[in-house]
Subunit: 342 residues, 2 copies
């Protein structure tokens, strides 16, 4: 089976079982079921446990709680509860007679209770809420990262979209956390289907621009990047725009380089807060660089060899690249592999 490349945050660890989101009876029973699994989020960060391991930093795992350990939180009106799904069966077991509705349900809980108090729910005392989302959420297993991508994006939506954008009234959560409805009975948003009621996903293009010579690629750096770090250019897709035109527009805006052909490669959900990174290779038709100083500090063409040295951390590389968990890293790696054909 031909599968597009898988990225960190991209694994579908859970079957979302969306048909169950409207089955409130089933959801309520699952909530109280002792087999159900709860992930605890504070400030959009999940509680994790740290186990000493082979690696330098040990192993970071999502800490799974049971109903008993979160029962009190579930009763508080400020708590946000999301139904995430059930563990996916792998292909072989899907052929057997497993009733997915009987599998343990996974939930995410978000609370603003004091974090020190929340950590007392972990008897092993090796739990924490990592402080830097960008860095610490990249230490999970692929399986855990897939769950976090889903849970964090939906929770971020609730934290920012608690009011109806159409009339300013309060809203209430529905459908296992996948919908918010306006509480104002006269609101337009209640007539027909409106995206205001559903979680937002922001599509972003991220592209490796290849030099017309086929042997160099264009990378840029923002002021906030650590010294020496360069990455792929990227930008939000605008209303009324295709993926391919967004690539051409953003590259032009950020570097003045003109792009012709654009080829989709693969994509990555990026839950900071809820982006879908759409990864492309783009072939430049011009080479002069003039950066948009508002967004980009510097952009440069790097040779194939420089990129190989950076990816495989040769001594004294001329640049560093983002870590393997990012689609930028994987796009560069992909280009190294396919660039002879371009």
């Amino acid at each position: 089976e031909l599968r597009t490349q898988e990225h960190y945050f991209g694994r579908e660890t859970l079957d979302r079982l969306s048909v169950k989101r409207t089955d409130t009876e089933w959801l309520e029973a699952k909530q109280k079921n002792p087999d159900s699994v709860y992930l605890l989020f504070s400030n959009l960060i999940p509680m994790v446990s740290n186990q000493p391991g082979d690696g330098e930093e040990g192993e970071t795992k999502l800490y799974l709680l049971r109903y008993e350990a979160v029962q009190d939180l579930l009763q508080k009106p400020e708590t946000v509860l999301i139904f995430l799904g059930v563990k996916r069966r792998n292909i072989s077991s899907s052929l057997t007679d497993v009733n997915v509705e009987e599998l343990p349900a996974w939930f995410a809980i978000s609370t603003d209770e004091d974090t020190a108090e929340l950590l007392k729910r972990c008897p092993e005392k090796n739990c924490c809420f990592p402080e830097k989302a960008f860095r610490d959420l990249l230490k999970l297993s692929e399986e855990d990262a897939g769950v976090v991508a889903q849970a964090r994006s939906v929770l971020a939506w609730h934290s920012r979209y608690g009011f109806c954008p159409t009339c300013g009234s309060g809203t209430k959560m529905e459908e296992g956390g996948y919908k918010r409805s306006c509480l104002n009975p006269d609101c337009r948003s209640l007539n027909g289907v409106h995206n205001t009621s559903y979680p937002r996903v922001d599509p972003v293009v991220i592209m490796l621009v290849v030099h017309p010579d086929g042997n160099h690629c264009l990378l840029g750096r923002k002021k906030i990047f650590p010294a020496g770090l360069f990455s792929c250019l990227a930008g939000f897709i605008e209303p009324g725009e295709t993926i391919e035109d967004a690539v051409r527009r953003e590259v032009d805006e950020e570097s003045s380089v003109k792009v012709g052909a654009v080829q989709y490669v693969s994509c990555q959900p990026w839950p900071m807060p809820s982006n879908l990174m759409i990864g492309c290779l783009a072939v430049a038709t011009s080479t002069d660089i003039r950066v948009d100083k508002n967004e980009i500090e510097e952009a440069r063409w790097f040779s194939r060899q420089e990129m190989i040295d950076a990816l495989y951390r040769k001594a004294a590389p001329v640049l560093t690249v983002p870590p393997r968990q990012t689609i930028a890293h994987q796009l560069i790696k992909h280009w190294i592999g396919v660039s002879s054909n371009l």
Copy 2:
């Protein structure tokens, strides 16, 4: 130059010139410039003119107004004004010294004034606001459709997102219509960059599912479809999900058919209100159909020959397909062309 297939609504007729969105002085001068072009929207529908033409229904064109004709509307506080850009130079003229900032600026204006009154601004009296967006917006030229895709999506965002989703306060428009900022100085949304301030684009997967035998494809129909019409399955990408997994999930949800490989083909902006339709071919690994009756009335496998008959409107086809302006139509056509290789 290798270009991905172009779809209706997908043409970048204008250079968005986003760098000018924050240049209020330039924008104000352009507003009053007699060369500037205004499109007038009422209820998210643009004013168009109908010219008798070769075709049965004649030619439908965006009606372009000048500053003089809209000056009064610009002074009303309820009027929404969007800066759309300037006409794109074609490749040859881009080599010359045209200063894009001196080209005529295009704006979209949205007003809730009485439409009969608004139509008086068209001296030729052949103007109207078409009544059915889904049908009538498909009659424009490719060039006009590209402008409408951009303008209508942004206007639809303003019409639904006038209040701050984070705190419920009012918001004000900025950056030529590409931003809304909360008027509550204590609002969280003003600290850092938040998607609540920017237009929403909803990524949707739309897929032609190919039978394991390579010679049939899966189409479905909703209850609201005209009799006999079948189309590709489609669905919103959810938070934390890849394009490929969204294809697998939606096909499974809507038809129970299991999908293996997924291949991106091309995409289409769909300004009803602001979707990005991401078109894919999907290879089925199972064939039994069980439809989700909430969403789909019927789904069926159709043979290659049945699809050819439907596309080229042979006598008594077993189904009809959506019109050529839709990516669904184009995906089917694409499959007919490539299906021998699958």
